[in-house]
Symmetry: C2
Subunit: 452 residues, 2 copies
């Protein structure tokens, strides 16, 4: 029997808590969160705002009452201000709480932005359900929204606003939407968005918000280049950073990525202190380098591994491929492993010679009315044939192919072996020669294989 204290209540925390109790019902498991909610799907907020469903509570996975019924004690609105590792104690709402095992699942927070005049009303971040509710209320009385940031959240909020008939200006600091994708893939995404909603969407790239305009309420933005864009409200979607203040303060080691350094068993450098989820750094299965990314699916996996090890098991979590997907209406954007640009950035330190092939093909038999095109980009190491990553975009079934590649990379298949994958085929689901195989043919040809 152990007293397990968990700080953080969104994804990794609840997973660790519930599993720790289930593995050993004798455990005393207590979860604290400074928010007023636990265990919710933050990823679902854009779809709530967009109108896919009306009740924000649908996003709550487990209420505190459900946790209590499972024997997990939940304290909302409880802020942990200090960890005292030597005493195995945390300070929560000024009270001292002892622990046998402490789990830091403090998640991520909005990345600081350097925009003047941040304290105006009607500037939103999309972090918790209340943010979602506030934005959903605001759009009812708005005509023009401004989104800062063209990544996952930016695009998802764009869909939500377009569904609600707003005009939207989206400002992206780089030269492309979806900066995690390679430029030419991002160009396809951009083309689709601007083609579909040309009358409603204004995209500003290579520019940054410099100042929010307005006295008390937001009325617009001035960009670095001097543009002034007026709008009824603004969503800042410029990313998150790991929430590590508490960890740093008590001596938990922070990695170069800025997130908590953990072993593949989710241990920190301090005995009896563990960490999981968006506050920890990740190991890339391809580069074997640590880096930071925030992903809900990974938080769950880490919470599980953390709970097993806390309870005496020996489970490892060796790393990730940063697999991710989103959509803009029927247009899917899916990725796994390294993009070409990230691969090139690592070419010296991990000794690879990246090569990429891109194809655009029908996702199912050309004669089927449901056929749509997808574009697949496959990245490999020219010398070894190791598959480094893939991206797929399009109105067709792009996500299926990316998950196949993700699985193949984890299985250690090289491009030659990828060619022999036995994929399902029927006219409503694919083509006799799958688009993924077409991408493999092309990359083999580029690699100098004369038989491709």
């Amino acid at each position: 029997m152990k007293r397990i204290v968990i700080i953080g209540g969104c994804a990794a925390g609840p997973k660790t808590a519930a599993k720790s109790k289930r593995l050993n019902p004798e455990n005393e498991v207590i979860m604290y969160t400074q928010e007023d909610l636990v265990s919710y799907s933050a990823c679902g907020i854009p779809y709530y705002v967009g109108g896919s469903f009306d009740n924000v509570n649908n996003l709550i996975i487990r209420t505190p009452e459900v946790f209590e019924a499972q024997g997990v004690h939940v304290h909302v609105n409880h802020k942990c201000t200090k960890v005292l590792p030597d005493e195995k104690m945390v300070i929560i709402n000024d009270e001292r709480v002892p622990y046998d095992e402490l789990v830091l699942a403090t998640g991520a927070i909005v990345a600081p932005i350097k925009i003047k005049n941040q304290n105006l009303e009607n500037i939103f971040h999309i972090r918790n359900l209340h943010d979602g509710e506030a934005v959903k209320e605001k759009i009812k009385i708005s005509e023009h929204a401004i989104i800062i940031g063209g990544g996952y959240i930016g695009i998802e909020m764009l869909e939500a606003f377009i569904k609600n008939n707003l005009k939207v200006t989206i400002i992206e600091a780089t030269d492309q939407m979806m900066p995690l994708f390679d430029k030419e893939m991002a160009d396809l995404i951009e083309e689709y968005i601007l083609e579909r909603d040309k009358d409603k969407v204004t995209l500003i790239k290579n520019d940054m918000a410099e100042e929010f305009l307005g006295e008390k309420e937001f009325i617009g933005i001035r960009t670095k280049s001097g543009k002034e864009i007026m709008g009824d409200f603004c969503v800042v979607a410029t990313g998150v950073v790991p929430n590590v203040e508490l960890a740093k303060d008590c001596g938990v080691e922070i990695g170069k990525s800025g997130a908590i350094k953990v072993s593949n068993r989710m241990r920190t450098n301090i005995p009896n202190i563990w960490a999981a989820g968006d506050c920890t750094e990740k190991n890339c299965l391809i580069t074997k380098r640590h880096f930071y990314i925030s992903l809900g699916s990974i938080a769950n996996k880490e919470g599980r591994v953390c709970a097993i090890n806390i309870n005496g098991g020996d489970e490892t979590f060796d790393g990730i491929l940063s697999s991710a997907v989103t959509r803009y209406f029927d247009y899917t954007m899916s990725t796994t492993g390294l993009s070409e640009k990230i691969a090139r950035r690592h070419s010296v330190d991990i000794n690879i010679d990246p090569i990429a092939a891109t194809i655009t093909k029908a996702d199912r038999a050309g004669y089927m009315p449901e056929m749509r095109e997808i574009t697949i980009k496959l990245v490999a190491d020219r010398r070894s044939g190791e598959v480094l990553g893939a991206q797929a975009v399009g109105s067709g079934d792009a996500d299926k192919r990316i998950n196949i590649v993700s699985s193949a990379i984890q299985g250690g298949l090289n491009v030659d072996e990828l060619l022999h994958l036995d994929l399902t085929y029927a006219p409503p689901y694919g083509t006799a020669i799958d688009p993924l195989h077409e991408a493999v043919y092309k990359i083999k040809k580029l690699m100098g294989n004369k038989w491709s």
Copy 2:
């Protein structure tokens, strides 16, 4: 420069022909088929009949003219009656045609049936485009169709007929639809079909057609159990057998499965005679045993490997997982590797102890309106944790998960490793803990892992 003669014009033949010419434009490549069409998608016939598109020619991939333009000579309505290996000669339409390399791509033919009175009008097999056209004409003046066989083609034709507002009786000899699936998965399929179209579909299991009724025209069927079912026409979908007469006659070795035995380079036992596609037997990547199955995607892969080796390359095709998919309206049935029953049948000869876990879960976030349930059955070897196969059915995205498993099996991942697959997640595409991972948790628990 070689004179390459190819017998057969549907899938493996055209692939071998086109690639042989492309790899070496000096080659003289001649393809003969006894049909009046080459290079078409037989898999698409049910969707043509169902009305997904109106022009049967959409199913033609390449016409003889296109082949000619690529330098491949095509002769339709040319029957090869004999192979003379010693003279490196074939007899085609009574003429002697010499070859340097001969490719047997003779495909499959309708499996012989033991039903009396087979020569009536309005009894159809679904093999080529003309069969499709004939059935499509017939349904215009029909009210009630009878289908013999509840496998892939049976279910696809059922969908086509229901779309055309026919009443349909389907007769299946075994105790389940889709005999390649395990019984409880097939029961779900059956339940869906009978729920969706209870007023139109009559399913008779554990019974066989014994006699076609009628004088000149088909008017019904008498079954073994004595039932008489009246209908306007009948589709026989009781499977195919490899077309190996020509091969057998000239001494090409036939495997125990009844199909042509080929090496993993698509060579037969006779020098300069190759075989590919539905006339050859397959190697199961899991059991390492040879068996027979007819799959269009595999025919293409084999044709490619055959062409490379004929032209001096060295490419292998080591085997398949029998991955396959079909649908009944929005209900998907997808499979890869061994079913539990097939695994049990092999448990002694390949020394496995099969264990299976089945889960039913949401295919994407429960709050998304597009969420549908899928049922996944995972089969593994209890002792080694080797993944043996998976089946998935449901109105949700079942096919994605099966292709992930297929890829994982080819990568040699065991159930533990399957758990760590980094799958994409976003609410419109999946769940934070993928249903496939839920199936893995369950099978690990059944295997005695107390941490699952």
